[in-house]
């Protein structure tokens, strides 16, 4: 057969890595044929919903459900007393703590679940909730973590020792009943010595406020206990379906093989859907009790008030440098507000996540970090909102400290970064706080970014603007927000990363069908990232079958191999690697089949795009399609029939994506309004699988960063009432508030990842927040501003100007 198709055309026909493949998911979504959990309707399905506490801290004296039981359609009202005999009134958290499923004697935050009303539909459930009478006795409220550590008010009486003392917690000694843990990294003494002896030290408190991932779809589930077969099926908004299955098994006692967890389409996650919530447990119990499927779907207020806050880190920092600006040491003490229960979603050994990436992109020889976790009367959570564990906090901290140091030194902040970057030749780089950065070329990225935005011209324009402002010619200032971030994603190596004892590997299983198409299943679950598109691209390149002939399936624990799910930008670094490795196993067997078919030794054939060719004789080849068929119809000596592979990939290291962002912002000194004139984002995520999807991820992450930096917060009043529980007050930008972004890239592959990819979904949030915030700060630098806390909404920007005396 004459091969009339060029090699380039064969590559294009695969739709493999590097091409802007259109998404296969979109046909369904654009026609309204997505399949989200609330779309599910089962015969006889009931609806459950919560009675929630109006108080942030109170004793629950009694729960009277008699009136509720009279409401037509109400079938059951579950309380902690009902769950206690099953041992389900409390449940373990991902952070080694335990939390109430339903209020057991007291409530610790506003919105906490008190009783679960099960009814024929959501209207009857809502009416039932109104009729449950709960008697509360209010207790003193602690919303300030610093105050909590001094207070006599004990939030978690359940954790007191028999002697009234404070026994160790899951992460070691606790020094106060409201203290959760102290976690340290680096060398304290050496760092304090360096700081004591330094030419220049900049010190600042950097607060990263409490916010919330707020995906457009809230959390929910449908639990269906089939009492005949003893099998529980649980559909839900789970970013980690396998981990949920294990958790449900451990707490319910149902054997894991009798539990099937299914994550259908997920309407955005951003970390909100990693945890296990009381709604899941109560739905399962209600289904067991009633014998019917039970649906629970949060409303938006429930979502914002209870499931999964993010951030709330008070980061006290000191950064030391020579007078020329070479950084010599970094010290950080963080007070972490975890709310009423420690339900942070971090790998077990990292109660403060990867906060110890806070040396950032800089070659800092000496550093020390301590984090104290604290209980307060706020909702639990502490999830990684579109970032790897606490990496956004870390990036914000160091990128603010760099700016403050630049002020202290009287230096340009871009130049200060440049002279302190880890150099390309220093990789792999061992950081002072314990990480081995895999690869990077920060100077190249920074140089490209500075050139792209015309940095020097911007500074000149800014200087002129300051002069004009002082001369009374304008009331607008210009801020140039810089950020060079380094992330740590792709958790992670099983040797140091686990959740509930489950190693953080991930998996891929591939079956090649006789006619040369395939299905691959993974332990991850897409929430909009486009896995069905991109993982097929990885495989197309690895196994030489067109991406369009490869189905990707995720989210069903009965069929997918075990994996730890999708969060912390781990899908590409871990499951993407598993996919490539499984593909290579397919290819290895295919090579043997091809050699047999071509009647040569295995070593005499080589892979070429979509086929194996005889070395030196390109006209002699077998396509992967032919090989697939042969695997099913030929008896090949020494080989089993079929063409399948599975890989469980334990990454040898994390990956370290990085980027250089510049935000140019106009600020109205009188109203506090801002306008983003330009935003340039250069990302280096290693090998690029699908540039279209990468760009989309960057746009989305930057917009979430914009929201966080410029207005989004979960705010409490002193009584512990949530002040921002609807989308009127919780800031999600519309298309009008969102600027146009310019994206760019460099490519520095990860040396340890099979395809060199690093992950990108979270970079723009990690890098974006400091860029926006630094722009605000930078606008006021000429007038003496050092530090002002986010979110930079109108009144807080106005307050900066006001305190600097700019309102005359």
């Amino acid at each position: 057969m004459k091969d009339e198709v060029t090699r380039e055309e064969r590559v294009d026909a695969l739709g493999g890595m590097g091409c802007k493949r259109k998404r296969v998911e979109d046909a369904r979504f654009t026609q309204g044929k997505g399949n989200y959990v609330d779309d599910l309707k089962l015969d006889g399905m009931l609806f459950g919903d919560f009675v929630r506490s109006p108080y942030a801290h109170a004793r629950v004296k009694s729960v009277d459900s008699s009136a509720a039981m009279e409401v037509p359609g109400v079938l059951a009202v579950l309380t902690a007393a009902d769950l206690e005999p099953l041992g389900l009134h409390w449940m373990p958290t991902l952070a080694g703590d335990k939390m109430m499923v339903l209020a057991d004697g007291k409530v610790l935050y506003q919105g906490q679940e008190v009783a679960f009303v099960v009814a024929t539909d959501r209207y009857a459930a809502a009416d039932g909730i109104e009729s449950v009478e709960v008697e509360y006795e209010e207790l003193p409220v602690l919303v300030d973590p610093f105050e909590a550590l001094q207070s006599d008010v004990v939030l978690r009486e359940d954790l007191l020792g028999a002697d009234g003392g404070t026994p160790d917690g899951a992460h070691g000694p606790r020094n106060h009943p409201n203290h959760i843990f102290t976690w340290e990294a680096g060398d304290k003494d050496a760092t304090e010595q360096v700081i004591g002896a330094a030419d220049v030290v900049a010190e600042e408190m950097v607060y990263y406020h409490r916010t919330h991932p707020c995906p457009l779809e809230t959390c929910g589930c449908v639990a269906s206990m089939d009492k005949v077969n003893g099998k529980l099926t649980l559909w839900g908004t789970f970013q980690a379906p396998h981990a949920i299955r294990t958790v449900v098994s451990l707490i319910s006692g149902i054997e894991e093989h009798n539990i099937r967890v299914i994550s259908p389409d997920i309407g955005g996650g951003f970390g909100n859907k990693v945890g296990a919530y009381p709604g899941y447990v109560c739905s399962v119990v209600a289904s067991i009790v009633t014998g019917k499927p039970v649906k629970w779907i949060e409303d938006r207020m429930d979502n914002l008030m209870t499931t999964a806050f993010a951030r709330d880190y008070w980061m006290q920092g000191k950064i030391a440098a020579t007078k020329e600006g070479k950084i010599t040491g970094l010290w950080c003490h963080t007070t972490a507000d975890h709310g009423g229960f420690d339900a942070c979603a971090d790998p077990t050994k990292f109660p403060a996540g990867f906060m110890n990436i806070c040396t950032g992109s800089y070659d800092i020889p000496t550093a020390y970090l301590a984090v104290d976790g604290v209980y307060t009367n706020k909702a639990p959570g502490g999830v990684a909102y579109r970032c790897s564990f606490r990496v956004t906090e870390a990036a914000y901290f160091i990128e603010r400290m760099i700016e403050v140091l630049a002020i202290e030194l009287g230096m340009d902040a871009a130049e200060l970064r440049r002279i302190n970057f880890i150099k390309a030749e220093q990789f792999p780089y061992q950081s002072a706080l314990g990480w081995e950065y895999d690869s990077g070329d920060y100077h190249t990225a920074w140089g490209k970014a500075m050139a792209a935005v015309g940095y020097d011209d911007l500074r000149a324009e800014q200087a002129q603007r300051v002069a004009d402002f002082k001369a009374g010619k304008t009331r607008k200032l210009l801020g140039i927000g810089l950020c060079h971030f380094t992330e740590i994603v792709g958790a992670g190596p099983v040797k140091n990363c686990d959740i509930l004892g489950l190693g953080m590997f991930d998996s891929c299983e591939i079956r090649i069908h006789p006619t040369g198409s395939a299905i691959a299943r993974l332990g991850t679950i897409s929430q909009g990232q486009g896995h069905a598109t991109t993982f097929a691209q990885i495989l197309a390149t690895e196994i030489g079958l067109p991406a369009d002939s490869i189905t990707i399936e995720e989210g069903d624990t009965d069929t997918a191999p075990y994996g730890l799910g999708t969060y912390g930008s781990r899908s590409t670094p871990v499951a993407g690697a598993a996919t490539a490795m499984a593909g290579r196993k397919i290819r290895a067997k295919a090579q043997m089949i091809a050699a047999y078919l071509l009647e040569v030794h295995d070593g005499d054939v080589e892979f070429d795009v979509d086929r194996f060719v005889v070395k030196g004789a390109p006209e002699r080849f077998k396509t992967m399609k032919e090989i697939a068929f042969a695997s099913y119809n030929q008896a090949i000596p020494g080989l089993e029939p079929g063409l399948e592979a599975v890989s469980y990939y334990d990454p040898p290291n994390m990956t370290y994506p990085f980027g250089a962002y510049v935000c140019v912002m106009e600020i109205d000194v009188d109203t506090g309004e801002h306008e983003i004139r330009q935003f340039y984002a250069l990302d280096d995520c290693g090998t690029r699988i699908n540039p279209m999807i990468i760009e989309g991820q960057v746009h989305g992450g930057l917009t979430e960063a914009l929201a966080i930096a410029m207005g989004q917060e979960i705010a409490y009043d002193e009584m512990g009432n949530v002040k921002t529980a609807t989308l009127m007050d919780f800031f999600l930008p519309t298309a009008v508030e969102t600027p146009h972004y310019t994206t760019d890239h460099t490519v520095t592959p990860s040396p340890h990842h099979p395809i060199g990819a690093k992950g990108v979904g979270e970079s723009p949030n990690v890098g974006g927040v400091p860029a926006f915030s630094n722009a605000v700060h930078d606008a006021f630098r000429a007038f003496g501003l050092r530090q002002s806390h986010m979110p930079h909404d109108h009144w807080r920007i106005w307050k900066i100007a006001n305190e600097l005396g700019l309102h005359g």
Partner: protein
């Protein structure tokens, strides 16, 4: 209190009749009673637009309308805009320009965008952003949504010209 009333709706061309409590919200009527699950529930306070449908020629937020109010109305949802054999140009454009990620806001977005282009067939980017400001998206940052709508506008007006 059970005070069901007789409701008639035309949804995507099909006549529907049923008894419902007046307080039933139109979004639940569509999703739970009629199985039309394209429109979604996002905020429940008329801020996010995930529940957007076309009602008597206006795009409205169906989480903030009682079924009793909609009695007698003609409703078009994403399901009524184009199917596998004949996609609406906006559906094509959203696919082509990566105007969606998780897909949750997409039905509301496309439904709203169709009305916007009906009122303003060749909008500027600024007009698109303003005209779409009742629909929130958490994934895309809007840039590719705007691009998709502009592209669909161009596509629709060129096919209209071709038809003339």
């Amino acid at each position: 209190m059970s005070n069901k009333m007789h409701i008639k709706l035309t949804v995507n061309g099909a006549e529907e009749e049923f008894l419902a409590e007046p307080r039933e919200l139109l979004i639940y009527t569509l999703r739970e009673r009629l199985g039309i699950t394209g429109p979604h529930i996002g905020c429940e306070t008329s801020h996010c637009g995930a529940c957007t449908v076309n009602l008597n020629g206006k795009t409205i937020k169906s989480c903030t309308m009682f079924v009793a109010q909609a009695n007698g109305a003609e409703v078009t949802t994403i399901e009524g805009m184009g199917g596998p054999d004949a996609l609406h140009p906006l559906q094509e454009a959203f696919k082509e320009h990566h105007g969606l990620q998780c897909g949750y806001c997409t039905p509301g977005m496309i439904t709203r965008a169709a009305k916007l282009l009906e009122e303003n067939p060749s909008p500027t980017e600024e007009e698109v952003r303003f005209g779409m400001a009742g629909n929130l998206c958490r994934c895309t940052g809007y840039q590719n949504i705007v691009k998709a709508i502009m592209a669909a506008a161009a596509d629709m007006s060129s096919s209209k010209e071709a038809a003339q």
